[in-house]
Symmetry: C2
Subunit: 253 residues, 2 copies
């Protein structure tokens, strides 16, 4: 049973400082937990609302837990809700150890890298990670001033895509520039007033830099070639996750 | 000054029933209000937090109000906050009359129409409307069971794009099918396992049907040609607004 101390501990992981210290996160919902298990994330324990025991999706998840020797317990609704960070909890929570999940050794990053500059909205960030997973991109560099990818909102909007990421790191501008200069990537910067992407112009090794909607890309990352998504000029900007999806689709075709 | 009754009235507009009855909405934030004014929305009144008077963007907005003969008043922070629906209010609210803003006469809809089936997340819906504005699409049909486009969250994530929309309506499945059958559109349905879009196959008159991520497109809308966005199979689905952006970009090039 979830003790008060354990509840307190689990809830503490909603704070970035504690996540960083513990290297653990809480994830919620059947789909995200299934993705975590299928990508061999280190699931330490799963707590299930005893009232939902006979939900067929939860039954399937319980079978998966047994098969993968993942420990789980049934808990009272009140305990589950006291840990849950969502309004409409599906009644299932998992504690994940992320220490071994990700590689941050830059030189091992794949040759298709996304660089995000100051993306502060965790929902957008999660959607970007989900879009990367769709297109098979698993290397992500974020500037120091970006949102935490394990922010609960970001994990929710990622819909399990976090567990497809292999390489990610947070870096300052200088280090990003040094990294890019050390590689033979085609470097693309998504901005508002440039030419559209011409795929004939570069190789399959690329880095794509995306900035926030409010601030664009920091001048410190003025490197590589600008590209834009042609619009009808009706509105100031596209959502950054939409821009990411459109460019990745172009790069993948 | 905002009276208690007026505050109550304005707040009542956050409920769909009241919005529908009054044909009025509250919008918040400088950028969205600027978009509304620039697209000649009927702005009934603007309330500005007196503390923010000297913010340069608000000063500019005040000039715009004077130029366009839009009435505005300064209000105490406490009054603005009591009406505001956002955590970090920019201190400016506008009341918009939307009665004359939109056309729902189907036969006048443009020849590039987006049809949304049961999109229930207002944030996604707003991002779709914003993406449509970017690509110059101004006709939108939503199934009856979709979210309200004037839900405050939807308006926020639309970032002012709502005022670029010219034609929109909510319809049942039968009426949508009858409408599509009466037109010579190329009808596209975005699904998960079809061929990718081949632009040589159809004209510039099209309707694009997008379904929710959880439920896909209702079988009652089984019409036209399925198209998909090729992925690497790493994750179950793309966010619907991302799919919308990618397909609109393909259709626009």
């Amino acid at each position: 049973m979830l003790s008060n101390n354990k509840i307190k501990y689990l809830k503490s992981l909603y704070r970035k400082k504690n996540r960083l210290q513990e290297n653990k996160i809480i994830i919620e919902g059947i789909r995200i937990i299934n993705e975590a298990i299928s990508k061999n994330a280190e699931v330490e324990h799963i707590w299930i609302n005893e009232k939902n025991k006979s939900n067929k999706y939860l039954e399937k998840l319980i079978d998966t837990c047994k098969l993968n020797k993942i420990s789980f317990t049934f808990e009272s609704e009140i305990h589950i809700k006291s840990v849950s960070d969502t309004k409409n909890s599906q009644g299932v929570l998992a504690l994940i150890n992320i220490k071994e999940q990700y590689n941050s050794i830059l030189k091992q990053f794949e040759n298709r890298v996304i660089i995000l500059d100051m993306i502060s909205d965790p929902g957008n960030l999660g959607t970007i990670i989900r879009t990367c997973a769709w297109f098979g991109i698993d290397s992500l560099i974020l500037t120091d001033n970006s949102a935490d990818i394990f922010n609960p909102k970001c994990v929710r909007s990622g819909m399990g895509a976090h567990f497809y990421l292999k390489h990610f790191t947070y870096l300052g501008y200088d280090k990003i520039i040094a990294y890019l200069n050390s590689k033979k990537f085609t470097i693309l910067r998504a901005t508002l007033n440039a030419e559209k992407l011409d795929k004939n112009n570069f190789s399959d090794s690329w880095a794509l830099i995306l900035g926030s909607e409010a601030h664009g890309i920091n001048p410190k990352l003025q490197i590589g070639q600008e590209i834009s998504i042609p619009g009808k000029g009706n509105i100031e900007s596209l959502n950054v996750s939409i821009a990411c999806g459109i460019i990745l689709n172009q790069l993948s075709n």
